[in-house]
Amino acid sequence: MTNDLLAALVPALPLVGAIILASLRRKLSANVAGGLATAMIAGAFVCSILLFQGFDAATGGRTVKLLDWISIGSMEIPLALRIDALSLTMMLIVTGIGSLIHLYSIGYMHDDERAPTFFAQLNLFSFAMLMLVMGSNFLITFIGWEGVGLCSYLLIGFWYKTPEYNYAARKAFVMNRIGDVGMVLAMVLLFQRFGTLEYATIMNVASGVNDPLMIAATLFLFIGATGKSAQLPLFTWLPDAMAGPTPVSALIHAATMVTAGIFLIVRSSVLFELAPFTQDIILWIGTATALLAASIGLFQNDIKKVLAYSTVSQLGYMFVALGLGSYSAAMFHVTTHAFFKALLFLGAGSVIHALGGEQDIRKMGGLKGHIKITFITFFIGTIAISGLPLMSGFFSKDLIMAFAFQRSPVLFALLLIGALMTTFYMFRLLFLVFYGKYRGNAHPHESPLTMTIPLMVLAVLSVVGGLLNLPHLFGGHEAMKHFLATAADGIRFEHLELSHATEWILMGITTMLVCVMIYIAYGRFAQKATLEGNEADMPFFKRLIAQRWRFDELYRALFEKPYGWLSTNLFSIAEQKVMVPIMNGVGEAAISLGNVVRKVQTGNASFHLLAMLVGLIAFLIITLMSN
């Protein structure tokens, strides 16, 4: 019972916080609002920890039913929460990292007059994200799924006076919605097939079903996931989403929301296991996204854009893991990625804050002396994402790469290229921002403690995060994998069957090449005083990459422009030239008929009297005839 209450409290606390903050947003000061919001999400974190401690993995998980939601005919969809290993993991990530980012935001947003609104939306986001991960059925997850989309929309467009930001916000929402079409289709399909949307029931029933419908269902789910997790072809919204305040980018567009797609696929892993075709598609889309995004990251000059493409690329890795069927590796990478990418974004935020809003790395440089804590923590984040040995990213990424090697060396090679590109652009970023000489003209200052504490905590986590799922190779016993394995009856985990020697060799090769990349990056960027960035001078291919493979332009030409054209012309031609005239025709026909018939009304009384007489006679005759 107490556990049920705790479970309900986890999403309820941020929701209450959001409601209070939204209704009192004009009366609260930024600090009070931030404090309240942080307290709420921290409370949720404490509840999650208590739940985690009281959780008996052997039982597999529990469902906490709050109330009947949609219940009609044979459709019973309760508003219920599911507490199991998977949702607990996600809850801890969401509330834990969420708390840190809320705390950080107090410092980051302290001079924004709409800070209470910001915190209200951040809390609302936390609520939605918690509904997403805690839902006991697809539809509850979908509540969160759309909820985070809305909050993402609000927060990307937080500074609403800039039209580009609003455009970015709309783009994010609409692209997510396209994914949602897939998600809803999957849900209606699964509902029709299984008569329920409860995860536990579906996964139980589905195991062993061999049904071509599963391919469709999983493909639809995957479409939903590509929208939310910014995979090809729906990834272009994520870099634009950097328009929002940096804590938002850290929380929503790096650590939590964008991993919802991965979460969803892990949740329904049983179904995906039944559809190897879908798994292959996920694998290749993940690989393509990882490489494509990493390549774009090489040439970006906006500190947040680099991180954004890095996020897309890392999400690609996670999808590769999912495609390979190694769900625990994906979740492991979700966790470590949440640590170091949140750290990197917050560090970037600290840099931006230090420079008074500057985001262009060409106008940075030499900052390591000015903002030491930020530099050290950012450095830790960089080596973590690059996968230097014993960092958290090292373990999670290598696990995925090992699985990839097990499938095919070619895949391994592709992922390795991606990893090297990651290293290169991350160190390029590091060197350009913190090394060399300062190229801007602001006065860098270190951020307040509320901002640096989260950085330090996340730095520590980024270092030690690997311990969560320490492989046997390093004396661990893959704790996370075993924990997650209890989540649902269905969640299966592929076993790594490589010999230890192979694993050592793979790690060695990776590490060695990563070091080489760092060296190259150091040579090229560490001492740069100026930076040429003129895209026009680049050779064609390089320019193409620097222009993000022209995806935005492509989509604009393929979809946005034709859609606008269609909208205008449907109205001006189809509606006004065809449909309205047809209706008018009906009216005019009636009127002209009236014009003919009205001639009968001569106004001559005698004529009418005669007509009456004639009518009377006719009526009588007809009556007589019919007798």
């Binding site: 009968v600 001569t602 106004g603 009297l609 007489l613």
Partner: protein, 110 residues
């Protein structure tokens, strides 16, 4: 006389009354269309009223039911009211268009 009248009800067949009232009605209807003088049209209408009254009275007598005669009485009431209104309209018409020609009333032309 009394006896004679009582037998009259039996002697004169109902058909006769019906035909007579039909005839009067038809003459009235023809007159309504035939004439242009509004006052004569009104009179023809009165005549048609009366043919119907006669019919009702005849049926009443043959049915031995006094209620139909009550209806005749009501028709007379209505006719009286109708005539007063009709004649005042006629007066108005005369006053406004200085004519009682029914063909003057053609404002209702569609």
């Amino acid at each position: 006389m009394e006896e004679g009248i009582i037998t009259a009800i039996r002697v004169v067949p109902l058909d006769h009354y019906v035909l007579l009232s039909f005839l009067l009605f038809s003459i009235g209807a023809a007159g309504v269309v035939f004439r242009r003088n509004t006052i004569i049209i009104l009179m023809c209408i009165e005549m048609m009223f009366n043919s119907v009254n006669l019919l009702l009275a005849a049926f009443s007598a043959h049915h031995s039911d006094p209620r139909a005669q009550v209806f005749v009485f009501f028709i007379m009431l209505v006719a009286a009211a109708e005539v007063t209104v009709g004649l005042s309209i006629l007066v108005m018409m005369k006053r406004n268009v200085d004519s009682v020609d029914v063909n003057q009333l053609n404002r209702l032309k569609g």
